[in-house]
Structures are given as structure tokens and as C-alpha cells.
């Protein structure tokens, strides 16, 4: 048991160092950060010409919406009849500008996540095939290294490396957005990264590492990564559409959801994220078992 654990720890350590040395994870994270910052800057140029809602308050059957004029920066009020329009109750509970800025950041992060998952597939799919290309596989076969430890070591090392990179990107992006948009709802922002961005990337990376196990060379692994891109897009779309968009945008017009408080809405958004992930986790486990069986079969041949 101790040998297996020390092998596992060693694999994680050295594979993670190798990931950084190959610069795959660094390139991925820089790419992700630059993409997100670029999109934010592009949207920001449009942001300055759009009137912004400063606050919402209810007065009987009327909703009073205070808006800031983009051109003059002056505030003006609009009175909306509640019986004719569905205005979610939580609009009045929150600092509207802060919530708006936070969700504007999420509007950029959602497509950026898709870009990240597209990039993860070909970039990380070479992790296991490289051992065969550099003839390390033969060396590993001479050692008492169980195949489960080998596969898990590869997977966890990539996960830890990616996690470090994504946390750094999250912090840097948060600082940038806060400097441009003003205050953010930090707790929601942190949860967005912890419960949506991070697990989504890790699941995508899991497939990118495990599926190309059968490839014999880096080029073969990259080709497998190319065919995994639709899966990455599918994971991103499923998670984003099933949680964030459904809860925050579409349920606004759902009468049954009007009285949901802001914290409840956000909490439900993140709990739905888990539901969206569930099908991908056992599938990854099944793929892992199939690849483990493949490695055993190949060794026994």
C-alpha cells in the first residue's frame, strides 16, 4: 500500500512538473485569460453606450426602475405596472449595479469556458501517448507500477496543474473585471469558479487525458483530441444552458419563480450545475475502466 501511494505521489509530482515544463497548461491558462480579457474589453466598449439600471424598488402594483443614462450619466425613473410585466422580486433585494456587473462577467466567462474546453482537448490529449512516443512505456513496464496507479497519477497530476492555473486565471480576471466594472458580488463570483468553471474544465481534462490512452504517438493523441472537441463543446453547453441560463434568464418570466430570493436563485443555479455534471462523471469512470482494461490487454498480448 505504501509503495502504491509513494508511486502515486511521485507520478503526480513529476507528471505535473512535466506538464509545466511542456508548457501545455501554461499556454492553456494564458490563452484562456487573454481570451476572457479580450472579450471583456470588446464588450466594455459597447457597455458605455447602454443605459444601466441603478436600482429597482416595488411600490404596491408599481415597480420603480431607476436608470442611469449612458450619455449624460443622469438618473431617471421609470414606472412599470407589475400586473402587466413580470419583474422578479429579487431585483429589489440586491445592489443592482453589483449584481449586474457580476453577471456581465459571467456572460464573458460562459463562452470563454467553451474556448477553454475546446483548447483542453488537443492540448492535454498527448499526456499518455507521449510515454509511448518517447519509449518511456517500455521502462514503465519493467517496474511494479499498477496500471490503475499509472492512469490515476496521470489524471490527478493534470487536474492539480490545471486547477492551479485556473485559480490563478480566476483571481487575475476578477481583479481586472473589478477594476473595470466596479464592485462584484464576490461570493457568487467565487462560487461560479468553484462550482462551474473548475469542475467543467476538470471533467473535460479527464476525458482529454484518459480517452487517448490507446494512441501510439503524440500525433495520434492529438487526432483523438481533435475528435473530442465536440464532447468539450457539449459539456460546456449542457452545463451553462442547464444551470446559469435557465435559472437566471428564462425563469425571470416564469411566474412560479418570481418570488425566489436572490440568494436562493444563485444557490439553485449552483446546485443545478451539479445535476448537469452528473452524467459525465460515471461516463468518465467507465472510459477509465475501459482504458485500464485496454492497457492490461496490451501488456498481456
Amino acid at each position: 500500500m505504501n509503495t502504491t501511494l509513494s508511486q502515486f505521489g511521485g507520478m503526480i509530482r513529476y507528471e505535473m512538473l512535466m506538464q509545466f515544463r511542456r508548457r501545455a497548461i501554461i499556454v492553456l491558462c494564458v490563452f484562456f485569460l487573454v481570451g476572457a480579457l479580450g472579450l471583456t474589453t470588446l464588450i466594455d466598449s459597447q457597455r458605455s453606450v447602454v443605459n444601466r439600471i441603478a436600482s429597482v424598488r416595488f411600490d404596491g402594483d408599481t415597480t420603480i426602475i431607476t436608470t442611469i443614462d449612458a450619455r449624460t450619466q443622469e438618473e431617471y425613473e421609470q414606472h412599470v405596472d407589475n400586473t402587466q410585466n413580470f419583474i422578479p422580486r429579487w431585483y429589489a433585494e440586491v445592489d443592482f449595479l453589483v449584481v449586474q456587473s457580476t453577471f456581465e462577467a459571467f456572460n464573458v466567462l460562459a463562452p470563454s469556458l467553451m474556448i477553454l474546453l475546446i483548447a483542453i482537448m488537443p492540448m492535454l490529449s498527448e499526456t499518455i501517448p507521449l510515454d509511448r512516443q518517447f519509449k518511456v512505456r517500455e521502462l514503465l513496464d519493467t517496474m511494479p507500477l499498477p496500471r490503475v496507479t499509472y492512469l490515476l497519477g496521470k489524471l490527478v497530476s493534470v487536474w492539480i496543474g490545471l486547477m492551479i492555473g485556473i485559480v490563478v486565471v480566476g483571481v487575475l480576471y476578477g481583479i481586472y473585471v473589478a477594476s473595470r466594472y466596479g464592485a462584484l458580488d464576490m461570493w457568487t463570483y467565487v462560487r461560479y469558479w468553484l462550482f462551474l468553471m473548475l469542475p467543467c474544465s476538470l471533467i473535460g481534462a479527464g476525458y482529454a487525458v484518459i480517452v487517448p490512452t490507446f494512441a501510439q504517438s503524440r500525433r495520434g493523441g492529438v487526432l483523438v483530441g481533435l475528435f473530442l472537441i465536440p464532447l468539450g463543446v457539449y459539456i460546456a453547453i449542457t452545463v451553462i444552458a442547464g444551470t446559469y441560463i435557465n435559472n437566471v434568464f428564462f425563469n425571470r418570466n416564469n411566474v412560479g419563480e418570481l418570488n425566489l430570493g436572490y440568494q436562493d436563485l444563485v444557490a439553485r443555479m449552483f446546485s443545478d450545475t451539479f445535476t448537469a455534471f452528473v452524467p459525465f462523471i460515471p461516463l468518465l469512470l467507465i472510459v477509465g475502466i475501459v482504458m485500464w482494461a485496454f492497457l492490461r490487454f496490451r501488456a498481456a498480448r
Binding site: M18, R21, R22, V27, L42, S45, P111, I115, I118, A119, P122, M123, S125, E126, L130, Q133, F134, S217, R218, R219, V222, L223, G225, L226, I229
Partner: protein, 202 residues
């Protein structure tokens, strides 16, 4: 291409937005990916042997380039025939003119990135993301925000660009691709440089 054509006939919004540029878009994307996989020094087996032989490495690249361009031309021709049967308003020549410039540009981009980074996955990634960016809002951003419509690689909105701008766009893209292809050949002229004697690459 067939899938996009059928989707466009079914009035799918994404396929409609790509419209007649489907042959150009898909053809150039595939060409770019193939070009990225064509020659990556870090993945090339027995490169030292090849470089020690009297046959220059550029021949290898040239042979593969001919195969990639030839295969893509064949696919684009078939796609153009199929499209012109479904959408008779667009001629066969229109489709090929629309496809040629981005195909050269993406081929050059894929080849060049793979050579300078020494790895095909970087070239492939840039080509895919570039195509994706062009498909989802790239043309809008270039036209509306920067007034650089002539830089659009794929899916140029023909109702927005003037014929002059379109011509400049095609010439620019072809020149861009050819320059990158030439740079790639220039980059592999030095055997030691190509092997990576000056630096370690894994």
C-alpha cells in the same frame, strides 16, 4: 459541407448565417488542421536521419503540402457542385473563389504555428479557434468595432462589404497565407535549428 447545406435548406439559423460560405469555411478549416498536422519537428520520427540525407527536409513538407491542397481542392469541388445544385443562385466558380483565399490563409497559419512551436496541437488549436472566432461574431467585431472588414477570413457578409473591399480581402488573405507558407519553408532550411539543437523541446 453536406450537413451545413442540408441545415441551411431546413432554415437553421447558424447554417443560414454561414450560408454560401460553408464550402469556404469548412474547406479552409479542414485544410488548416491538416496543415498543422503536416510537419511538427517534435513529432517527426528520425528527423536526424532525414536531415543527414542529401534530400532537403523542404521536399518532405512540399510533398505533404501538395497532398493536403490536392485533397482539399477535390473536396471543395465536390462541395461546390453539391451546393450549386441546392442553391442555384450561387455559381460553382463563386464557391471556389470564396474558398480559395481562406484555404491558403489557414493552411499557412496551421503550418507556420506548428513549425515555430514544433508541435502540431498548437497549430491545430489556433486554426480551430480562429475559425470559431470568425464564425461567432468575428466578422461583426472586425466591421462594427474596428472597421477592418477587409481582414475577415471566413464568412464575409457580402451585403456589407463593397466589391472593392471584397477584392482587397481576397488578395490580403492569399498573400497572408503565401507569406506564412514561405516563412515555414524558410524556417526549416537550417537542420540544426529544426532538430532543436539550440533548445530542449518535449
Amino acid at each position: 459541407m453536406v450537413f451545413l447545406a442540408l441545415m441551411a435548406q431546413a432554415r437553421d439559423p447558424v447554417a443560414m448565417s454561414i450560408g454560401f460560405s460553408a464550402v469556404a469555411g469548412v474547406g479552409s478549416l479542414v485544410a488548416g488542421v491538416q496543415a498543422a498536422l503536416m510537419f511538427a519537428p517534435a513529432d517527426e520520427p528520425a528527423l536526424e536521419l532525414l536531415l543527414a540525407s542529401p534530400r532537403p527536409a523542404a521536399y518532405l513538407l512540399l510533398e505533404r503540402l501538395i497532398i493536403v491542397v490536392g485533397l482539399n481542392t477535390l473536396v471543395a469541388v465536390l462541395g461546390a457542385v453539391f451546393f450549386t445544385r441546392l442553391f442555384p443562385t450561387d455559381t460553382f466558380v463563386d464557391q471556389l473563389v470564396r474558398w480559395f483565399a481562406p484555404m491558403i490563409a489557414m493552411t499557412g497559419l496551421g503550418m507556420w504555428i506548428s513549425i515555430i512551436t514544433r508541435r502540431s496541437n498548437y497549430g491545430m488549436l489556433i486554426v480551430i479557434l480562429f475559425s470559431g472566432a470568425m464564425l461567432f461574431g468575428g466578422a461583426y467585431v472586425l466591421i462594427e468595432l474596428f472597421e477592418l472588414g477587409w481582414l475577415i477570413v471566413m464568412y464575409p457578409p457580402l451585403d456589407v462589404l463593397t466589391p472593392d473591399h471584397y477584392l482587397i480581402n481576397r488578395v490580403f488573405l492569399t498573400a497572408f497565407g503565401l507569406v506564412l507558407i514561405a516563412l515555414t519553408f524558410w524556417h526549416i532550411r537550417e537542420p540544426e535549428h529544426l532538430i532543436g539543437a539550440a533548445h530542449t523541446a518535449v
